[in-house]
Amino acid sequence: MGAALEIRNLHVSVEGQPILKGVNLVVKQGEIHALMGPNGSGKSTLANTLMGHPAYEVTGGQMIFDGVDMAELGTDERSRMGLFLAFQYPVAVPGVTVANFLRNALNARRKVDNPEDKGVPIPQFRKMMIEKMDLLQMDHSFGGRYLNEGFSGGEKKRAEILQMAMLQPKIAIMDETDSGLDIDALRIVSEGVAKLSSEDLGVLVITHYQRILNHIRPQYVHIMMDGQIVESGGPDLALHLEEQGYDWLREKQANGDA
C-alpha cells in the first residue's frame, strides 16, 4: 500500500478571509494529478496550507497524509514524513550553498530515523548530488552557489526539482513550477520531473497552462474555482480548458447554484 494525501472538506482563511471553501482531493503515490484554475482561485493557498505555512489558518476539514492527520504537525515534520512543496517563488538564503543546504536537509531526515545518526557521509552525498544534477542537466558548480541567490528563474525552478530529487518525497506538490520559464527551461524542468516519476512518487502539479502537462502527463486533472474543486476528469479536461477557457465552467457553476 502506497502513501496517500487525502484532503477532506478543507476550509482555509488568510487574515480572516476565507479562501478555501471545502476542498476534497486524494493524491496517491504513483499518481500524477494536475490542479488548474484561474488566478486567485486558491491553488497556491492549498499548496501552502498543505505544507503548514503559519499564515494560513485551517478553519475546517482535514489533511491526512500517510494515514496521519497533519493538523498538529509542523512544516518540518510534514517534510520529514515525505511531503514536498516545489515553491513558486523560492527565497534566497545568502551564504548557504546548495550543497550544504541539501546535506542538512538530508541529515534532518536521517536524524528522525535514528537520533544517533552522524549524517550522510560526504563522498556518498557528493555522488548522489552529482547523479541528480546530471539527471537534471545541471552544471556541477551549482552545488557551490548560494541557495537561490542571483539565480535566474529557470535556475530557481531547477534547484527546486534538484531538492525534490535529493529528498525523494512520497508526495510532491509543484506550485506553478512552469511560471516564468521559457520553452527550453520548461522542457528541462518538466523532463526532470518526468524522470523522477515512479511508483513511489505522487505529484500534484499546480498550473495555469496546459503546456507543462505535455511533458508531465497527469492521469487526473482538477479545476479549482473560488476555493473549491469544481470539475475533475482525465487529461482531456486540460485540453478542453486550453481551448474553451474557464467561462463554460463559470456558467455551469452559476446554473448549478441557481
Partner: protein, 471 residues
C-alpha cells in the same frame, strides 16, 4: 508551550554542560577583594618583578583612578570593583607539559578539548586558569628557530630587554580607563616573538578560563612579528556561569614589522555574567599586514574595538568582527582603522546578530591623518535581527584629514524572514536548525576566512546560541 524562563534555563544548561561547569576552588593564593596600591604591590611581589615594573603598575593605578567610567557604549554601572578578586594564583608554577598541571585543572582543559586541539592542529598552546598561565608549550622545531612563546611573566623574566622595548608602547596606560586598569594589575597572557622570516604555518593558541566567582582576569599579551615573519594566534575563552559578575579586562599589543603578516583570532564565549572590556591594537609597519578576526558570542557586556595603526606606506589591515547578542547580552563591538601613513589600506567587515532582546552595536572609527594620502578603506557592517525584541545600532565615525583618499562605507540591517524559515522547514529542518542555517549563511563571508577547525567550532557555537530561541 514552555515558558520563557524554562527556555532560558535550557540555554544555560546547554552552555553549563559544555563550558559553564566549575571546579571546586583550589587556588594557591587569593588576594582579598577590591583594589588598592597594596594589592597592586602584592601582585608585583608575587611575580618577583623588577622595580621598574612595580613602579609602572602603581602609576597605572593612579591613571585608572583619574579616568571616569566611559559615558558612551554599554552600561557599566553594575560592575563593582569592591566585589572583584583582582588576583587568584591557580598553581605554584607553570607547566611545560600537561603532566605538570594540577589534576583538577588539567581535567577542565581536557573537557574543553585544549590538549586535543594542541595535538591535532596547533604549533603551540597556552592555557590560563584564573589569574595565571598554568601551561605553555611550543613545538620544538619552532623553538629551535628562535620563536618565543611563553607566558607574559616568563617573557619579562627571561627576555627583559625585548619585553621592555615594546611593553606599553602600542597601548600606553593612559589610553583608556581599562587599559590603565590592566597596566596596574595585569597577570597572565602570552609573550610571543617571531624572528625575521620565520613563518609559523599552524596557529598558536591560548585558552583563557575563569573558574573563581567574582574574578577579575587581566590578560596581557605582547606579540612582536619581526620582518617578513608570519604568525596566526588564536585565543578562546569560557567561564562557569555564576549569578555574580566577573570581569575580563585584557590588553593585547601587537607589533607587525616590515613585510610581516599576522592574524589574531578571538573566539570569545564567556558565560553571561562576565564583563569583557578589552583593548587590542596592532601597529603595522611598511608592507606589513595584520588581521583581527574577532568573534564575540558570550559575555554579559562586551566593549571591544580591535584597532589597526597603519604606520608606514604599504601597511594593510583587516578587521572581521562577529557579534552575537542573545538574551541579556550587550555586544558593543567594532573596530578602528587609523591611517597614519600614505598608501595604506584597511578593510572592516562587521556582522552582528541580535536575538531574544539582545543588543548588538557596531562602533567603528576610520581615521585618516593629514599626511596619509592615497589611503584606501572600506567599511561594511551588516546586522541581522532574529526577532522584534532585539536591537542593533551602528556608530560609524569617520574622520578624514587627508585630501586624497578612497573610502567606501556600507551598512545594512535585516530581519530574518518568516518566508526563509518556512522554506527551510519545508525541507525538514527544525525551526532552530533553520534559524541557525540563516545565521550561519549571514556569517559565511567571515567564517570562510577561518581555518577549518575554527569555522566548525564557530558553527557549533552559533548552533548553541540558537538553541531554545524564542518566537
Amino acid at each position: 508551550m514552555t515558558s520563557d524562563a524554562e527556555q532560558l534555563q535550557g540555554i544555560r544548561e546547554s552552555y553549563d554542560e559544555q563550558y559553564g561547569f566549575r571546579d571546586p576552588d583550589s587556588y594557591v593564593f587569593k588576594a582579598r577583594k577590591g583594589l588598592d596600591p597594596e594589592i597592586v604591590a602584592q601582585i608585583s611581589e608575587m611575580k618577583q618583578e623588577p622595580q621598574w615594573m612595580r613602579d609602572q603598575r602603581l602609576k597605572a593605578l593612579e591613571i585608572y583612578r583619574s579616568k571616569p567610567v566611559p559615558a558612551w557604549g554599554a552600561d557599566l554601572a553594575g560592575l563593582r570593583e569592591e566585589d572583584i578578586y583582582f588576583f587568584v594564583r591557580p598553581a605554584e608554577k607553570e607547566g611545560r607539559s600537561w603532566e605538570d598541571v594540577p589534576e583538577n585543572i588539567k581535567r577542565t582543559f581536557d573537557r574543553l578539548g585544549v590538549p586535543e586541539a594542541e595535538q591535532k592542529f596547533l604549533a603551540g598552546s597556552g592555557a590560563q586558569y584564573d589569574s595565571e598561565m598554568v601551561y605553555h608549550r611550543i613545538r620544538k622545531e619552532l623553538e629551535d628557530q628562535g620563536v618565543i612563546f611563553k607566558s607574559i611573566e616568563a617573557g619579562l623574566r627571561e627576555h627583559e630587554d625585548l619585553f621592555r622595548e615594546y611593553f606599553g608602547t602600542v597601548i600606553p596606560a593612559y589610553d583608556n580607563k581599562y587599559a590603565a586598569l590592566n597596566a596596574a594589575v595585569w597577570s597572565g597572557g602570552s609573550f610571543i616573538y617571531v624572528p625575521p622570516g620565520v613563518k609559523i604555518q599552524m596557529p598558536l593558541q591560548a585558552y583563557f578560563r575563569i573558574n573563581t566567582a567574582n574574578l577579575g582576569q587581566f590578560e596581557r599579551t605582547l606579540i612582536i612579528v619581526d620582518e617578513g615573519a608570519y604568525l596566526h594566534y588564536v585565543e578562546g575563552c569560557t567561564a562557569p556561569t555564576y549569578s555574580s559578575d566577573s570581569l575580563h579586562s585584557g590588553v593585547i599589543e601587537i607589533v607587525v614589522k616590515k613585510g610581516a603578516r599576522s592574524r589574531y583570532t578571538t573566539i570569545q564565549n564567556w558565560s553571561d555574567n562576565v564583563y569583557n572590556l578589552v583593548t587590542q591594537r596592532a601597529m603595522i609597519y611598511a608592507d606589513g599586514s595584520h588581521e583581527w578576526v574577532d568573534a564575540n558570542l558570550g559575555s554579559k557586556v562586551t566593549m571591544k574595538y580591535p584597532s589597526l595603526y597603519l604606520m608606514e606606506p604599504g601597511a594593510h589591515g583587516e578587521i572581521l568582527s562577529i557579534a552575537f547578542a542573545g538574551r541579556g547580552q550587550v555586544q558593543d563591538a567594532g573596530g578602528k582603522a587609523i591611517h597614519v601613513a600614505p598608501h595604506t589600506t584597511s578593510q572592516i567587515l562587521s556582522k552582528s546578530i541580535a536575538k531574544d532582546g539582545g543588543r548588538s552595536s557596531y562602533r567603528g572609527l576610520l581615521k585618516v591623518y593629514p599626511d596619509a594620502n592615497n589611503a584606501k578603506s572600506t567599511v561594511v557592517c551588516d546586522a541581522l535581527l532574529l526577532d522584534e525584541f532585539s536591537e542593533s545600532d551602528t556608530y560609524p565615525y569617520i574622520e578624514i584629514e587627508a585630501p586624497d583618499v578612497t573610502i567606501g562605507h556600507e551598512a545594512t540591517v535585516s530581519k530574518i524572514g518568516d518566508d526563509q524559515i518556512f522554506y527551510l522547514m519545508s525541507r525538514g529542518m527544525s525551526e532552530d536548525e533553520a534559524n541557525a542555517m540563516v545565521v550561519n549563511g549571514f556569517l559565511e563571508p567571515l567564517t570562510k576566512e577561518l581555518p577549518m577547525e575554527y569555522s566548525i567550532e564557530m558553527n557549533r557555537l552559533i548552533q548553541l546560541q540558537m538553541e531554545g530561541s524564542i518566537g
